[in-house]
Symmetry: C2
Subunit: 138 residues, 2 copies
Amino acid sequence: MAKDIFHDAVKSALEKDGWLITHDPYAFELGEVSFRIDLGAERVIAAEKNDEKIAVEIKTFLAQSDTDSFHKAIGQYFNYLVALEEREPNRELYLAVPKTTFDDFFQRPFVQKALKRMNTKVIVYEPFNEIIEKWIKL
Amino acid sequence: MAKDIFHDAVKSALEKDGWLITHDPYAFELGEVSFRIDLGAERVIAAEKNDEKIAVEIKTFLAQSDTDSFHKAIGQYFNYLVALEEREPNRELYLAVPKTTFDDFFQRPFVQKALKRMNTKVIVYEPFNEIIEKWIKL
């Protein structure tokens, strides 16, 4: 499955970047709803006492139309933000998108506007080299 | 297709409620993205000079898990809100959901919280009698 290949690519890319994968998936129940965010990861920052913690929802943008994939991605991002705020407010939420999607569809004016309005944090990944290209706060 | 049956049920229910269906679908382009909201409708209010205008995204909650359907629904609602604000700010956006979904899944604490946070407007419909049960601003 291409989806699993991309999942493993992001996982491996995060590990190369110094992150420890702590949850695969990061699953929990809140307010009678089950959540299942693709990955949870941590990184120790030498200069600080606290670990940096993230939750990552991995999108492939392979199926359907990009617009349909984007509707679902932004909905997951919103719901996960609301849930994490209650469950673990110091864990930062990222949407991981492949470089090809980021360079094209994500540059369209409406998509940029919606991402900014939601204060979306984005990880741009290169699925074949298994590297994180960019960390972006839109 | 059950989806089409529900679409026609909501359309017919709105008509019974005095609405004129003006768009089916309400489709437009904005910021290099194509939007396709299920219905556009208008109603003349005798007491006012202006028509009341709505756009309605119809959800069936028949496929996948309710949670997955909700992620996509809230994402569409967010993107459509952002788009309508620019394109036609006086058209109100509604999410139409079947009564069985509203009475069960939509009552769960997390779902209520997310709907309120998004200021979601909801139409509760009864697909078999083809009637609008409730108009709700959450």
